[in-house]
């Protein structure tokens, strides 16, 4: 593999890309369906989430996209299934702060030595930590966060609807 790319395309990412977990649809209702788009590249993700008694009882991912957006969605689906909505929201926050480190550095105009933002507890992310290499490739950050933003939106919509 060429230099640098191994940070982006970790084996676990390629594995989730080739064999995505929780791929498909859920009947709605009772599941809730939310679409997310990346207008830059045309990638789209559809998140089906079933919330039962404050818990993400099931989740399915549809749509199409690059290896980063698809593997991130797959890893996300495996990580959130069975967790409480509150735990899922915490995980979304942690994941997005891991993805925002580089953006913060860019704004400081300092690519190397800039102080990162909130320290991110990578251990709490488990397999998701494999996606941290994405921050070295700023244009791909939106690929990695697409499914997470879509899930966050789905949870917001459910909250507004009084479901969770």
């Amino acid at each position: 593999m060429m230099t640098g790319l191994e940070d982006l395309y970790r084996e676990i990412i390629l594995d989730h890309y080739r064999s995505p977990r929780n791929r498909g649809e859920l009947p709605e209702p009772p599941a809730h369906r939310t679409e997310g788009f990346n207008p830059l590249c045309g990638d789209e993700v559809v998140v089906y989430v079933l919330v039962d008694a404050g818990t993400v009882a099931d989740i399915r991912i549809a749509g199409q996209g690059c290896s980063i957006s698809q593997s991130s969605a797959s890893l996300m689906s495996a990580a959130v299934k069975g967790k409480s909505v509150e735990q899922v929201r915490d995980l979304i926050r942690t994941f997005k702060s891991m993805m925002s480190i580089h953006e913060a550095r860019l704004e400081e105009g300092d690519g190397e030595d800039g102080a990162p933002g909130e320290p991110v507890d990578l251990d709490s992310l488990g397999e998701l930590a494999a996606l941290q290499g994405v921050v070295k490739f700023p244009v791909r950050i939106k690929c990695a966060t697409l499914s997470w933003n879509t899930l966050a939106q789905a949870l917001d919509e459910l909250e507004t609807a009084g479901v969770s």
Partner: protein, 412 residues
């Protein structure tokens, strides 16, 4: 001039191409998005700022007169480049091709298109030649009609006469930014004129690569951008027939575009300044003129000939090395074709392809190329697009093929 292009000499004129990316020679295959600049363009703009800058059209001192002279000389150079019969009146400097088409929609369109009127577009258009008409259609309740795309990646013109019946305006690209297809624009324009329609040409992709003559194209308006033809960003051109431009209301209001302003109104300036409100992009016009001079010195026929021979090489090499694993969305062969190769490689997503190619210093564009209706027609969300220009050579195509092979190994 005749004979093949001396690419090695051309490359030396482009300082940006001398650099390394990720330890590899920069292989720039994204000129359909934006081209690079020869030193002469950079020098012309530097010299303008270092020796000449003043605002145009109002100064009565030598410096301003020289700024004026260079700005208007650029207009004449551009007019000559596209065969404009009256360059002094008909060449309007705008921000880019997008703004040029928006200007036609907002001025000619608002003055001439009324509820129920029909506008004919094609499935090949860039968003720049779609969204202005979609906006106007919504505002004016226009009927939009579409020339479809054939399976040969060319416009399906079988129904053209029926589609043109009663149409007021036809807006069509001269060359697809995704497929590389050169459209039979002159034939479409002639049929459109027979039907009584006004014809807009989106020349953003063809003007930088093919010899252009507005009379031969038969368009009423031609839009293009400087930054795709070796010139700077921030300037583009709307060419229009003088009688149409005369009859159109102004676009932006402000300084420079007026003859008189009173408390109760204004009267617009004469062409072309009627459409150039505010301080124009003067240094950019000077840079565009230098780009035109550079292309003219080489000769557009040689530029296009070089691109076609490189295209044929790329088609052959890619077919030999990848066979059915690689698909090119575009007409086979080089007839009515420009040097654009939209690729699908196995099921590797274009973004992943582009990322792997970047590690080898190879720049291609991944995405929908601002042509979402066309992508829907092709049945893909995105492609990876390699586009050729006069500074590319066979070794660039080889580097592309090598990098594609790496991507195949990674995602295999």
């Amino acid at each position: 001039m005749t004979g093949p292009l001396d690419v090695a000499a051309v490359k030396k004129d482009f300082p940006v191409l001398a650099q390394q990316v990720h330890g590899h020679r920069l292989v720039y295959l994204d000129s359909a998005a934006s081209s690079q600049h020869p030193q002469s363009v950079l020098d012309a703009m530097d010299d303008y700022y270092a020796t000449t800058h003043a605002n145009v059209h109002r100064g009565v001192y030598s410096l301003a007169e020289e700024a004026d002279r260079r700005y208007e000389a650029a207009r004449l150079a551009v007019g000559r480049f596209i065969g404009a019969p009256q360059p002094q009146e008909e060449v309007v400097f705008v921000k880019n091709a997008t703004e040029a088409i928006n200007m036609v929609a907002a001025t000619w369109g608002r003055a001439n298109l009324h509820p129920g009127d029909a506008v004919l577009l094609t499935d090949m258009e860039h968003h720049a030649n779609l969204v202005p008409w979609l906006m106007l259609a919504e505002e004016r309740d226009l009927e939009l009609r579409w020339v479809g795309l054939g399976d040969d990646y060319r416009l399906d013109l079988d129904d053209l006469d029926r589609l043109l019946d009663g149409v007021k305006l036809v807006a069509c690209t001269t060359m697809s930014n995704v497929l590389g297809t050169v459209t039979p624009f002159a034939a479409i324009a002639a049929a459109a004129h027979d039907a009584g329609a006004v014809v807009v040409a989106d020349g953003a992709q063809s003007v930088p690569h093919l010899a252009t003559d507005v009379g031969a194209l038969g368009c009423d308006f031609l839009a293009f951008s400087a930054h795709k033809m070796l010139g700077p960003t921030g300037i583009g051109v709307l060419w229009g027939k003088a009688e149409l431009l005369e009859a159109m209301p102004p676009f932006l209001g402000g300084g420079g575009m007026i003859r008189d302003v009173r408390r109760d109104g204004f009267s617009p300036n004469v062409l072309p300044w009627k459409f150039e409100a505010g301080t124009p992009p003067i240094a950019e016009a000077v840079g565009l003129a230098a780009a035109v001079h550079y292309l003219e010195a080489i000769g557009m026929d040689r530029v296009h000939g070089h691109e076609l021979s490189l295209l044929a090489y790329a088609q052959r090499i890619l077919a030999e090395r990848f066979g059915d694993d690689l698909h090119v969305f575009g007409p086979e062969g080089t007839e009515d074709r420009g040097g654009v190769l939209s690729l699908a490689y196995r099921d590797v997503h274009p973004h992943d392809l582009s990322q792997v190619l970047d590690q080898a210093g190879v720049c291609v564009r991944a995405g929908h190329h601002c042509a979402k209706p066309l992508m829907r027609r092709l049945g893909v969300p995105a492609t990876a697009r390699a586009s050729l220009y006069l500074y590319n050579e066979e070794s660039d195509v080889d580097a592309l093929a090598d990098a594609l092979e790496s991507a195949g190994r990674l995602f295999g």
